[in-house]
C-alpha cells in the first residue's frame, strides 16, 4: 500500500524531472533537474529492494558525474541555447522518432521480463548477491569493463597532455623548436 503510493510519487518526480531536463534553457538547471530524476530513480530501486544499486546510483551519478557536468557547464559558461533559442529546432524531427522507438523497445522488453522479475527480483540488488555474481559468474566482463575504463582514461590523458608539451614555458632552443612554436601559435 505505502510501497505502491511511494512508487507513483517517485515515478511522477522522475518523469517530471526528466521532462524539465530537456525543457530548460539554462544548462545548470537542466543538470540540477537531472539530479532530481536520478534521486527519484534511486528511490524506485530501494522499493525494489535493490539497496546497493540505489546507493551506487546516487554516489556515482548524482555525487560525481553530474557534479562534473556542472563543473564543465560553469567553467565553459555554455549559453548557446540561450543566445540562439531556435538553433536546435530541427533536432525535434530526429529526436521524437528515436524517443518513440526507444520507448517501444524498452516497454516491450520490460513487459516481457515483468513476470519473471516479480518472482526472483527480491534479492538481486543486495550487496551479497551482486558481489557473488560479479566475482564468480561475471568476473571476466567485470575485468574487461575495468580495462575499458582504464584505456579511456589513458586516452583522455594523452589527448589533454599533447598540447601542453608544445607550449611549454621555456625558450625554444633549436630552430626546429622555434618553428614548432610558431606553427602552434599560427594554428591557434
Amino acid at each position: 500500500m505505502v510501497a505502491t503510493a511511494l512508487f507513483y510519487i517517485f515515478a511522477a518526480i522522475a518523469t517530471a524531472g526528466a521532462i524539465m531536463v530537456v525543457a530548460q534553457r539554462n544548462p545548470v538547471y537542466s543538470a540540477l533537474y537531472l539530479v532530481l530524476t536520478l534521486f527519484a530513480l534511486a528511490g524506485e530501486y530501494v522499493l525494489l529492494m535493490a539497496h546497493f544499486i540505489a546507493i551506487v546510483h546516487v554516489a556515482v551519478y548524482a555525487g560525481a558525474i553530474v557534479v562534473l557536468f556542472l563543473f564543465v557547464i560553469m567553467l565553459l559558461n555554455v549559453r548557446l541555447e540561450e543566445r540562439a533559442p531556435d538553433a536546435f529546432r530541427y533536432m525535434i524531427y530526429a529526436g521524437l522518432p528515436m524517443a518513440a522507438i526507444l520507448f517501444v523497445e524498452m516497454g516491450y522488453f520490460a513487459f516481457r521480463g515483468f513476470q519473471q522479475a516479480m518472482v526472483q527480483g527480491t534479492r538481486v540488488g543486495l550487496v551479497e548477491s551482486i558481489g557473488r555474481a560479479l566475482f564468480s559468474q561475471y568476473v571476466l566482463p567485470f575485468e574487461v569493463a575495468s580495462i575499458l575504463l582504464l584505456v579511456a582514461m589513458i586516452g583522455a590523458l594523452y589527448l589533454s597532455k599533447r598540447k601542453l608539451e608544445i607550449v611549454a614555458f621555456k625558450r625554444p632552443r633549436s630552430k626546429k623548436e622555434r618553428l614548432k612554436v610558431m606553427m602552434y601559435e599560427e594554428e591557434h
Binding site: H51, A59, A62, G63, A64, V67, F71, M74, L126
Partner: protein, 348 residues
C-alpha cells in the same frame, strides 16, 4: 496491547528527534568551542561576557542572525539562491542516521517487549550510504556559488566541487580497507568487530588517509579553499546574509560532527570501552548502555577538538598543493593500503 509496527515507528521517531536535536545543540557548543579554543591558541580571551564563561554566546549569535536584515541581492538567480542553504543542510543532517552511538537495550511497553538499538538505521549497505549522501553535500556549495552570480562565489563553488570529488576517492578506498577487515558494510558489525582491537591499530595508514580526506570533505582548514576568506572574501556564501548565512555554518559544523562520529566508529571502536575496563567494573546492564554512549561521545568530542586544533594551527594549502596531495599522494597510498590489507588478510 500495542502493535509492533506502531512501536517501531514511535521508537524510530523518538531516535530521529533526539539525534537531530543533539546535533543542532552540538553545533552551538562547537561554535562557542571554536571561538574559545581559537582564542586560547592565539593567546586571547575570546567571548567571555554573555553568561558564565561566555556559554550563552551561541544563543546571542543565533538571536543576532535571526534579527539581521535578510538581504537578497538583485543580481542573483533567485530560485537557486534560496535553494542552496536548504540543500546544504539536508545531507549533513542525513548522514548521521547510520552511526551507532550506543549499544542496545530492551524494555516493556505495556506487555510488548521493545528492543531499542541506539542507531537510527542499521542499513544493509551501511557505510555506502554515508559515501553516497556525503557526496551530495557539494551541491549546496556549487548551487550557492553559481546562484550568487559573483565571480568569487563561483570560484568557491568550483573549487569545492573539484576538491570534494578528488578527496572522495581516497576516503572511499580507506573505507574499503576497513570493510575488507570486517567483511561487512554494516556499521554495527564494524563496531562489533572492534571490541578487542580498534581498527586504528590494524589500519593506521587507512586512518590517516580517512582523517585527511575528512578534513577536505568538510572544507575545514587546511583545506578550506572554497571559502578562503583572504582570496575569495568568503567564497560561496559571500552574498548570503542572516539565517541563510548561518545555514551554511550549521551545515559545516554538522558535517564535522558526523565525520568525527564516523572516524570514531570506523577506527576507534565506536561505543566500545578500551582495555576491558567496562567488564572489570561489572556494572548493571542499564549503566553499561550509558557508559557506551558516554564512551562514544568522548571519542567524538576528541576528534571535534582535533578539527579545531588543526584549524588554528596549520596554514592553508595552495590549490595546486591540494590537488597534488589528493591525486599524487593520497590516492596511491590508499591503493597501496588496500593491497596491503588484502595481503594481510590472506596471511593471517
Amino acid at each position: 496491547m500495542v502493535n509492533s509496527a506502531t512501536v517501531e515507528l514511535v521508537v524510530s521517531a523518538v531516535k530521529v528527534f533526539i539525534v537531530v536535536n543533539v546535533i543542532l545543540l552540538m553545533v552551538m557548543v562547537m561554535i562557542l568551542a571554536e571561538r574559545r579554543i581559537s582564542a586560547f591558541i592565539q593567546d586571547r580571551y575570546g567571548p567571555n561576557r554573555v553568561g558564565p564563561f561566555g556559554i550563552l554566546q551561541p544563543i546571542a549569535d543565533g538571536i543576532k542572525f535571526l534579527f539581521k536584515e535578510d538581504v537578497i541581492p538583485y543580481h542573483v538567480d533567485r530560485f537557486l539562491y534560496l535553494l542552496a542553504p536548504a540543500v546544504i543542510l539536508v545531507p549533513s543532517l542525513m548522514t548521521f542516521a547510520i552511526v551507532p552511538f550506543g549499544s542496545s537495550f530492551s524494555f516493556y511497553w505495556g506487555d510488548t517487549p521493545v528492543h531499542v538499538r541506539l542507531q537510527i538505521a542499521d542499513l544493509n549497505i551501511g557505510i555506502l550510504y554515508f559515501v553516497g549522501i556525503a557526496s551530495l553535500a557539494v551541491y549546496g556549495l556549487v548551487i550557492g556559488g553559481y546562484a550568487s552570480n559573483n565571480k568569487y562565489s563561483m570560484f568557491g563553488g568550483l573549487r569545492s566541487s573539484a576538491q570534494m570529488i578528488s578527496y572522495e576517492i581516497p576516503m572511499g578506498l580507506a573505507i574499503v580497507s576497513v570493510v575488507m577487515l570486517t567483511g561487512s558494510l554494516r556499521l554495527s558489525d564494524i563496531v562489533a568487530d572492534q571490541q578487542h582491537m580498534w581498527n586504528v591499530v590494524r589500519q593506521p595508514l587507512g586512518f590517516l588517509i580517512f582523517l585527511v580526506a575528512a578534513f577536505a570533505e568538510t572544507n575545514r582548514l587546511p583545506f578550506d579553499l572554497p571559502e578562503a576568506e583572504q582570496e575569495l572574501v568568503g567564497g560561496y556564501h559571500t552574498e548570503y546574509s542572516s539565517m541563510k548565512f548561518s545555514a551554511f555554518f550549521i551545515a559545516e559544523y554538522a558535517n564535522m560532527i558526523t565525520s568525527s562520529a564516523l572516524i570514531t566508529t570506523l577506527f576507534f571502536g565506536g561505543y566500545h570501552v578500551p582495555f576491558g575496563i567496562l567488564e572489570a567494573l561489572n556494572l548493571p546492564v542499564a549503566w553499561e548502555v550509558v557508559v557506551h554512549v558516554l564512551s562514544f561521545s568522548i571519542k567524538t568530542a576528541f576528534f571535534l577538538f582535533v578539527y579545531l586544533w588543526v584549524r588554528w594551527t596549520l596554514p592553508r594549502f595552495r590549490y595546486d598543493q591540494l590537488m597534488n596531495l589528493g591525486w599524487k599522494s593520497l590516492l596511491p597510498l590508499s591503493l597501496v593500503n588496500v593491497v596491503l590489507t588484502g595481503i594481510g588478510i590472506a596471511i593471517f
